[in-house]
């Protein structure tokens, strides 16, 4: 098998596993479908906004939960944002943690919220590294002169 085919095979297997393990859902596929010649960097752009946004949100959440008196409305507002962004790019596992997190905010359960924040950091760093690997594979395929297999 030549280099391009090997890389393409790796890409397909890796992408399939991401969906299988719930890291990504159909919304990510929708994002990829939106990318075209007029905007060939669309997915990478949106994902990089997501990374930046998420890191800010995680910091804000950590600060909000460290306060003597926690403002649960504020915490909920941040989680709501995070839920929205993660849902929009198809980061399913992150989104699911956000859903649980909002429930703890509603009942003002501080420990539950702190646990969710840890989970959120964990899931976010997982999906970030998976997406970075995915983009790296894409670059390798293109550099070797191949085309990226469509997963649609």
């Amino acid at each position: 098998m030549d280099v391009v085919s090997q890389l393409q095979r790796q890409f397909v297997d890796f992408t399939t596993s991401l969906y299988h393990e719930g890291f990504l859902d159909d919304q990510f596929t929708q994002l990829q479908k939106l990318q075209d010649e007029s905007n060939p960097e669309f997915v990478a752009e949106v994902v990089s906004f997501f990374f930046e946004d998420s890191e800010n949100l995680l910091n804000n959440l950590a600060n909000a939960l460290q306060q003597q008196i926690v403002d649960y409305n504020q915490v909920d507002a941040h989680v709501h944002q995070f839920k929205g962004s993660s849902s929009s790019i198809g980061a399913q596992r992150v989104k699911n943690v956000c859903v649980a997190f909002r429930n703890f905010c509603e009942v003002k359960n501080r420990d539950g919220c702190i646990r969710c924040l840890q989970q959120l950091k964990h899931e976010y760093s997982l999906v970030k590294s998976k997406l970075e690997t995915l983009f790296r594979l894409e670059q390798q395929i293109l550099a070797a002169g191949g085309t990226i297999p469509s997963m649609a």
Binding site: Q27, Q30, L31, K33, L34, D36, S38, N39, F42, E45, V46, F49, F50, D53, A77, H80, Q81, K83, G84, S85, S87, S88, I89
Partner: protein
């Protein structure tokens, strides 16, 4: 597949027949997404990150400097997120419907939450449609056909 129709609409870009949509959302990622979805459906798009900015662009704000009409870009459709800090999409909808100049412009509300009372409230206030986020290309294509034939 859809490549024939999209290349046709790409050819229509500067002839003024493209509907102009004002998309309002406080979330940057959602703004980028809705913008791309609309552009893929042959729409001209202006985005705003909150209700106040949207009102300014529509010429309904205190500051008339940024009014899109004066730059010759009449807005044919407003699509707005419901949950925004400060002025919600519902508040924006009310302001648009209260204005003599803008009340005929269709307003679509988007939300990530499927809450029937919320949906009904918006429809009763005159929203043309309510759409669940995240939006898909198929949703936007349908919207384009229904509202801007």
């Amino acid at each position: 597949m859809d490549s024939a129709s999209s290349s046709l609409s790409k050819g229509m870009i500067d002839d003024g027949n493209e509907p102009h949509v004002l998309a309002v959302d406080d979330n940057l990622i959602d703004r980028k997404l809705v913008e791309k979805l609309l552009k893929n459906s042959a729409c001209k798009v202006t985005t705003a990150e909150n209700g106040l900015r949207a009102l300014e662009l529509l010429g309904l704000g205190d500051d008339q400097k940024n009014n899109l009409k004066t730059s010759g870009s009449k807005v044919n459709l407003i699509i707005t997120d419901y949950c925004m800090p400060g002025m919600t999409g519902y508040d924006l909808l009310k302001k648009v419907k209260e204005s003599n100049v803008m009340k005929e412009v269709p307003v679509v509300i988007m939300s990530s939450e499927n809450i029937p009372t919320r949906i009904n409230k918006c429809l009763e206030e005159g929203a043309q449609m309510f759409m669940l986020k995240p939006l898909k290309q198929a949703d936007v294509k349908k919207l384009r056909c229904q509202l801007m034939a």
